[in-house]
Symmetry: C2
Subunit: 279 residues, 2 copies
């Protein structure tokens, strides 16, 4: 038994969709969430910048009593996590591996699409992981740079969201995929519009949901679950406007966030140098 909290971070609000899944699956766990709202979005930034930001996010979370870190940001998971995984003395899980496992298990025609931020797609991480798990699979990645700004501005199922999504998804429809990894934790808010465009024959795989399932399995196997029946406590930290976070965040989380949000000066946290590690 282990009552330490689960630390979760994302570039902004998107990671809250993973937090929601964690709350549903593991109601007894404490969760500490950091949303780097002052530096969102990560997905259009360079690799060096993303690694530096990720190190600072991890160092911030490590100031608390935590037992595990969930990298609830597709960009940080694919761009920074492979570089940093062995350097952190806590279990860390990103949103890539479980989503890939789920997609490979569900596809019938071995044509798997991935929508994500430009940095994630450029990294090729999803495609590599899919090919490692299913060498016969064909992958189709598509960068969707406007999805995060749309979601962060409340465009979930609007005409604009539909128009932007149609443009991004057209090549994936043409490729006849039957499984689509929604490779960014912001994207569940676009499930309805993406599902409508892709049609019922395409299975959407949400990275946050798959990751939450993994966290439950991992903590159970390692005997690291919190006390049964205990009620989880939630703390939220952001690097910019607390008010915006409370408002929009409640939509992401589908519950009130209220007063529990605190402001962090994330640039105060250690980040080594801008080229932190040899790669």
């Amino acid at each position: 038994m282990d009552n330490r909290a689960i630390g979760v971070f994302d570039s902004g609000l998107g990671g809250l969709t993973a937090v929601k899944q964690l709350m549903d699956l593991l109601p007894e766990e404490d969760i500490i969430y950091f949303g780097d709202t002052g530096r969102v979005p990560y997905g259009t930034r360079s690799k060096d910048t993303i690694i530096k930001y990720t190190i600072q996010d991890i160092n911030f979370l490590k100031t608390f009593q935590i037992k595990m870190i969930v990298v609830a940001c597709g960009t940080a998971s694919t761009v920074a996590l492979p570089v940093l995984q062995d350097r952190v003395d806590l279990p860390m899980v990103g949103v890539l591996s479980e989503a890939v496992t789920s997609a490979v298990r569900q596809t019938k025609n071995n044509k798997i699409g991935v929508v994500a931020t430009p940095a994630t797609i450029k990294s090729g991480a999803f495609e590599r992981a899919i090919h490692a798990a299913a060498p016969q699979a064909q992958t189709y990645g598509k960068a969707c740079p406007l999805f995060v700004p749309l979601v962060e501005n409340g465009h979930f199922d609007t005409q604009v969201a539909e128009l932007v999504a149609r443009e991004y998804l057209e090549p994936l429809k043409e490729a006849d995929i039957d499984t689509l990894i929604m490779g960014c934790t912001h994207y569940p808010l676009l499930n309805r519009v993406v599902g409508r465009i892709m049609g019922p024959q395409v299975t959407l795989v949400n990275v946050g949901e798959e990751t939450a399932k993994y966290v439950k399995r991992y903590l159970t196997e390692q005997d690291m679950r919190a006390e049964p029946g205990k009620k989880g406590h939630y703390s939220y930290f952001v690097s910019d406007s607390v008010e915006n976070f409370s408002h929009l965040g409640s939509m992401f989380l589908q519950r009130e966030i209220g007063e529990m949000v605190n402001l962090v000066d994330i640039e105060k946290y250690e980040c080594d140098s801008p080229r932190p590690l040899e790669r």
Copy 2:
């Protein structure tokens, strides 16, 4: 005569529209441009964050031999410049004052609209300046949070840009404005779509253009112009991906940027504390 450069900064690429105007009006002047592409956008951030970023941008430009600073960012001009104006030992001009002067001069029905980032609109700075110059004027401000992401992703005159713009501009059309301040240096790229929606009876005032005219007038009056007939040199610095900047930046500038772009670690520059000054 003064051959020192003009320093210009913006949160990203938008300020290049002001640089283009400076190049056209003052071809003999050297220009040093800093685009904070690693931290764009400023307009959705809090006041404290914007002030901190602005201080770092100014401190970076001051490492060069410059004679003047142009704050080519609507958000920094309205949110940070009023706080910092008296603390910098160089002439500094933002994009607000000249645009306001021009709008007040051109309006016939005294109904002036302002479109800008959420931070700029929230600051109320344009509205205050308009009322100070023309107490009888009615002002209509509208925050357009998706305009910068659209422009930074090449959506200048697309169906998506039109749809988003129609939604933002509807209340300004209803208010029967005859003059619209495009209060962000990214927005000239949206001139065509905004002009079409607002109709020919509405005059668009572009902040970069008005500011460039002011810089020419100021340098002339102060006898600080560069040597006549000299050919200006241009240097570009960014805080993230140099390649993206060269590509999209050339569109903003309507000329090749080529190899002259350098990467800066802007967070290394002094920013006092996160609450830098008493306000």
